[in-house]
């Protein structure tokens, strides 16, 4: 896009600046709109599985429910507890929300259509997702209240546990793709097995994908791993003391993170913007449509799991992360690098 603005007669610096800002807006605005609709979709799916109607009053079929909720929290008063650490209390939701948006910079929406096409894209995603815990931990501490504090401690232990196995899973993908660049990873999945575009068809990587999906749920603290906001034990966890917009930022951030995890699932294992099968006709559909369809499919899976699977106990959550996922993912790093070495993949 920089070239486009340079052709309009701008110097490189200005063209770069304007195209970057335009790119950020092009991603962030649809994403926010998408988050509003996805919250509605989540509630509808959840309701359908519980044989309820879900939101159906505001707008046709309740489509405007999220906007009504947004307007409502926007007009509410922001309450800051008198014992809270005021500065950190207000910064915490901003961190969560910003971090949830930042990782989208390296997600490729089409061949080369990516805001920051950096060499270490996947490491960037890992780095940004490891920051997500700070919003929760700072909120828990600065609220100066016991339930948020418990929740913050749970969150920090939980997110570190699952990041370790996610790291190993991503290493497997990187080994096969031979690059940390997200666009290269998508391209490496073309025709991966027979005519299927996507690492998921590979018998060695399929178990990795299953573990990535589950770790993703734990990482975003979605049900059944939403121990940080377990209402039966911790009221609302780290969000207990939050109200109005600062609460809404957590809400938006959580769903933006869930969408990001869906996008990562699609990009790393299901061929990203490539069509599912390598058939010329399917390439007539633009790449971002395929990516969007995949993201929506994975979001349905996330909602489905949320509606049907009971919440884990905390020790079970830790056991799953450290005693099952970590050794298994380590084993697969061995198997995959061994296989690639034996078949001369790196030659």
């Amino acid at each position: 896009m920089t070239e486009l603005f340079m052709n309009l007669g701008l110097s490189y610096e200005w063209a770069w600046g304007i195209s970057t800002i335009a790119g950020i807006l092009l991603i962030a605005l649809p994403l926010m709109l998408g988050v509003a609709m996805i919250i509605y979709a989540d509630r509808k799916i959840w309701a359908a599985m519980a044989l309820r109607r879900g939101p159906n009053v505001v707008g046709p079929l309740g489509l405007l429910q999220s906007f009504a909720d947004g307007l409502k929290v926007f007009l509410q008063e922001t309450i800051i507890p008198s014992a809270a650490n005021k500065g950190l209390f207000l910064i915490a939701p901003i961190i969560t929300f910003t971090v949830a948006l930042m990782a989208w910079a390296v997600i490729p929406f089409n061949s080369g259509a990516v805001l920051a096409n950096i060499n270490v894209g996947l490491l960037y995603v890992l780095a940004i997702s490891s920051l997500g815990v700070y919003g929760v931990v700072i909120a828990g501490w600065s609220s100066n209240s016991k339930y948020p504090f418990f929740s913050a401690m749970r969150a920090s232990a939980q997110m570190i546990s699952y990041e370790v196995s996610i790291g190993f899973i991503l290493i497997c993908v990187v080994l096969w793709a031979g690059s940390f660049n997200m666009n290269e990873i998508v391209k490496a999945q073309k025709d991966h097995v027979w005519i299927i575009n996507g690492f998921v068809a590979n018998p060695l990587l399929f178990p990795m994908w299953v573990m990535f999906l589950i770790s993703g749920m734990a990482e975003t603290a979605r049900a059944p791993f939403d121990l940080t906001e377990a209402e039966s034990e911790l009221v609302a966890g780290y969000q207990t003391e939050y109200s109005s917009m600062s609460f809404a930022l957590y809400w938006l951030g959580e769903y933006a993170n869930v969408l990001l995890m869906c996008a990562l699932n699609a990009t790393l294992f299901w061929g990203g913007w490539l069509p599912p099968l390598d058939i010329p006709v399917l390439y007539l559909v633009p790449g971002f449509v395929w990516l969007l369809l995949k993201i929506l499919f994975f979001f349905f899976v996330f909602s489905w799991v949320k509606a049907t699977v009971p919440r884990y106990r905390y020790d079970q959550l830790m056991r799953l992360g450290w005693k099952i996922f970590l050794p298994v993912s380590l084993l697969f790093v061995f198997l995959i690098s061994g296989y690639l070495m034996a078949t001369g993949h790196f030659a």
Partner: protein
């Protein structure tokens, strides 16, 4: 222009947040400023073109080490009056440390003035800039020339890990853990049975 602006932004923020890390009275605030300093250091490394190291800095230090710091510091109930009372006792040790750090700083500046150190290839010439990403460049160096040092680092980490486990592991008696395999293997016929009791007789278990 953008590079210079970014450099001065990151550098100033890093030095400022480093200073506040030391000066902040609240230890939790200190850790948070330290995290900001790490961040800006990562930004500077991106400017140098060392994006791999920058990302590792964030993943390892900000994402894991600092979280654990914060975790520990948050749970401490630090009495500042008591901390300051220990100032006189710890002063000599602190003074020695300060002198060591200051002399290192002076040496560092001196070495910087003397010109760049010729690291890189075996004959002392600087490493050639190749058209490969620095992830590949680091990998190629680590697994060929510095293989034994790399393995030694791995062994040291392994020893540290085992040491930590040995120090903290304790066998507690009387704890009933959950055996998930046993639970999954349990079938309904092992646990339940049907009876047709006569009215008013009850069931013999």
């Amino acid at each position: 222009m953008i590079q210079a602006f970014a450099f001065y932004l990151f550098a100033t923020l890093m030095i400022a947040s480093g200073a506040i890390t030391i000066l902040a009275r609240n230890p939790v605030h200190s850790v948070l400023w330290l995290i900001l300093a790490f961040f800006n250091a990562a930004g500077l490394m991106v400017l140098c073109g060392a994006e791999f190291i920058a990302m590792l800095l964030i993943i390892v230090y900000v994402g894991a080490v600092a979280v654990l710091f914060l975790f520990v510091v948050m749970m401490l109930d630090i009495d500042f009056a008591e901390l300051r009372a220990g100032f006189i006792n710890n002063f000599p040790l602190g003074f020695v440390l300060a002198v060591v750090l200051l002399s290192e700083l002076v040496l560092g500046v001196g070495a910087y003035r003397a010109g760049a150190l010729k690291l890189g290839t075996a004959d002392g010439t600087a490493a050639p800039s190749q058209a490969i990403s620095n992830t590949e460049a680091i990998g190629a160096l680590l697994y060929t020339r510095y293989l034994f040092l790399f393995e030694a680092a791995g062994i040291i980490l392994l020893v540290a890990m085992i040491g930590a486990i040995v120090l903290t592991h304790r066998q507690r008696s009387g704890v009933r853990g959950q055996n998930i395999a046993k639970q999954v293997a349990r079938r309904p016929e092992d646990a339940t049975f049907n009876v047709q009791p006569e009215v008013g007789k009850g069931v013999q278990l």
